[in-house]
């Protein structure tokens, strides 16, 4: 494995599982009133970026500079629960639809609400790749960085726990939604705590992978996890069709940017 002089570096990784409680989102009356109307997925992404702001203020500042940063929002099914209820309403002839729900049913809507909340005007793409969504987003980020399209990419992953969201009432401890933020940059130098993306490639069939592929541990998504100590740093994901991604990650120093729920 040879590293390019300018490698893609995973500098910060945060994740958040929403169970009805937010901690970093402002709790003044105006914010509470505004946030009350958000879907669980919108709240999750919004909270995630407030945590990102608190923990990595310089990166958060760069995220707001469109000349530096782009956003790739990856979500396998978007606001699946809303789509289900809207489709059921049409099927059962319960019209008209709710305008608010229709707006939210669009795949990029949850990120867009988050962008409004945080005032982010940087270029944003929303992509869906099912089980491979996280890795496809990372691969696209890696290529855009290598192409010199931008200096940083925020890969933002979101998934809604449809079953919990649609249960009345939702189980107390059921995760309502999950989000992950990965801050990727193209740099000549690395710092302790960084993970270098040595390579990432698609695999075409099960024969190309090994048996230790990552499990989908949240609604068919495979969140990125820092390789553990002694790990060879290989991440393998594969879908039911046999398509997959294999990536190699090298850690710099001992400090982990790891996940914080």
């Amino acid at each position: 494995m040879r590293l390019a002089p300018k490698a893609t570096i995973l500098r910060h990784a945060l994740d958040f599982t929403y169970r009805g409680e937010l901690s970093a989102t402002p709790n003044d009356r105006a914010s509470q009133k505004r946030l009350r109307r958000y879907t669980p997925l919108q709240k999750t992404l919004t909270e995630l970026l407030y945590r990102f702001q608190q923990q990595h203020p310089n990166a958060y500042k760069d995220l707001h500079d469109p000349s530096l940063s782009q956003v790739i929002y990856g979500t396998a099914l978007g606001e699946l629960g809303i789509n289900m209820t809207q489709t059921a309403a049409i099927t059962h002839d319960e019209l008209p639809l709710s305008p608010v729900k229709f707006q939210r049913s669009v795949l990029n809507a949850s990120y867009s609400q988050c962008a409004i909340e945080h005032g982010i005007t940087s270029a944003a793409t929303a992509l869906a790749r099912g089980f491979l969504t996280t890795d496809a987003a990372i691969a696209l980020a890696d290529m855009l960085l290598a192409a010199g399209d931008c200096a940083h990419v925020l890969v933002l992953i979101g998934a809604e726990n449809t079953e919990a969201v649609l249960q009345e009432p939702a189980p107390d401890d059921a995760p309502l939604a999950y989000g992950q933020a990965l801050w990727l940059s193209r740099h000549l130098s690395q710092a302790a705590g960084d993970f270098i993306l040595a390579d990432i490639r698609q695999t075409l069939s099960a024969a190309e992978g090994t048996n230790d592929e990552a499990d989908a541990d949240f609604l068919g998504l495979v969140p990125w996890q820092p390789p553990i100590a002694g790990d060879k740093g290989e991440r393998i994901v594969r879908n039911a069709s046999g398509e997959g991604y294999v990536s190699h990650w090298l850690s710099v120093g001992t400090e982990s940017p790891g996940a914080s729920s």
Partner: protein, 393 residues
């Protein structure tokens, strides 16, 4: 920190496979638009009084129709471009945009289970209705194994797919790519836009003072995009010079009334392509016919292009058709003839921008195509036909 984005080399467009209510031949579509041929109709059976631009073939459920649309267009683009003579399928990427896949399978699930249907569907259903299911089937059929993704940025989806394909191919990250997108009309889109009160009962009138909303349509286009350096001029239909994308961060469905991010998107496209506003021969507007979108778009275009845009817009509104006008800047809005193709709009309209007949001496000058979508997604692309492009008579 300072950062100067590297705009890749122009990429060559070696095939375009369009689909719309005006047909599947780009030259015929442009000719029909230029002649002002009425193409939208009220005989659609969706239960609302608003004309629509429907594809001729309406057999099958919406998900099957989308699969057939993509599949047919990809096959056509692969054949017409001759791409497979230059690249292995494993090196060809596929980036598609769509917003309506999954509807008919979900509706069938609820129809089948009636009042007993689980509100959250089923794992089996959910595995079939994501865009990835569509992409995986297309990749399998054509054995395309380069980078693949489904883009879901509402009405910019297919334009965003082309923009990404251009960036990845132009920078050498992907060898070659098929990109674009389609949408078909489903009860969800009809009822959704109806509840937002955005459907015009009459033929849509972009930029008119009495405009009253959109008409829906079906279709889109697939582009074959290859590195310019590997394509002789005689093979290229045209070129993508570059593009830009911005986000309004204003509202989920309405644009920033000041059009700030639309303006920046257009300006950044010109900057990325090292072009001046006066070098642009034609603008394909997003031109939905809604009060707010057209106002924001018009404001932004006027600020970038000045009186040339205002003059061109006046001619467009007066004629409400694509003309080979005498104005230095041709402004076109094609949705009155195709309907709003939602996720497919950006790709088809980029093709229409490239193929629009303008003054012979300006024919190969760059043109811009603008696409805007829910969530404040903005995409602008700069394209031009090659001197040998023969798609339009």
């Amino acid at each position: 920190m300072s950062f100067a984005p590297a705009e890749p080399s122009p990429t060559a467009i070696t095939a375009i496979a369009p689909r719309s209510c005006l047909g599947s031949d780009l030259g015929a579509i442009v000719t029909a638009i230029a002649s002002g041929t009425p193409s939208l109709n009220y005989d659609h059976g969706f239960g609302v009084r608003s004309p629509m631009g429907l594809l001729a073939d309406r057999s099958g459920e919406s998900d099957d129709r989308l699969l057939a649309l993509f599949s047919g267009a990809i096959a056509e683009a692969l054949t017409a471009s001759g791409m497979l003579r230059r690249y292995e399928p494993k090196d060809i990427g596929l980036i598609i945009g769509t917003t309506t896949f999954g509807y008919s399978q979900t509706a069938a699930f609820f129809a089948e289970h009636g009042d007993n249907a689980p509100a959250h569907g089923s794992p089996e259903l959910n595995a079939r209705i994501g865009g990835d299911a569509l992409l995986a089937e297309l990749r399998r059929r054509f054995e395309l194994a380069g980078f693949g993704a489904v883009i879901g940025t509402a009405c910019t989806s297919s334009a965003m797919a082309i923009r990404l394909a251009h960036r990845l191919v132009g920078s050498g990250q992907v060898a070659a790519c098929l990109a674009g997108g389609f949408d078909v009309i489903t009860p969800m889109t009809v009822q959704g836009f109806s509840c937002l009160q955005l459907l015009d009962e009459n033929p849509t009138r972009p930029f008119h003072t009495d405009r009253a909303g959109i008409n829906l349509g079906e279709g889109g286009a697939i582009f074959a995009i290859e590195p310019d350096t590997r394509i002789t001029e005689k093979i290229a239909l045209g070129y993508v010079f570059g593009g830009a994308s911005t986000c309004d961060a204003h509202d989920l469905t309405t644009p920033d009334p000041e059009g700030r991010e639309i303006r920046r998107c257009i300006a950044e496209t010109l900057t990325a392509c090292q072009m001046l506003p006066e070098e642009i021969a034609l603008i394909n507007t997003h031109g939905t016919g809604t009060t707010l979108n057209d106002a924001a778009e018009s404001l932004a275009l006027g600020q970038v292009f000045g009186p040339r845009y205002d003059d061109g817009l006046s001619a467009e509104v007066a004629a409400q058709k694509v003309t080979g006008g005498e104005e230095p800047l041709v402004v076109q809005a094609t949705k009155p003839y195709t309907g709003h193709l939602l996720g497919g709009a950006g790709a088809l309209e980029t093709a229409l921008a490239m193929a629009a007949p303008i003054k012979a001496e300006d024919q190969t000058l760059p043109r811009l195509s603008c696409s805007f979508g829910f969530g404040g997604s903005n995409v602008c692309l700069a394209v031009s036909p090659s001197p040998h492009f023969g798609g339009v008579t």
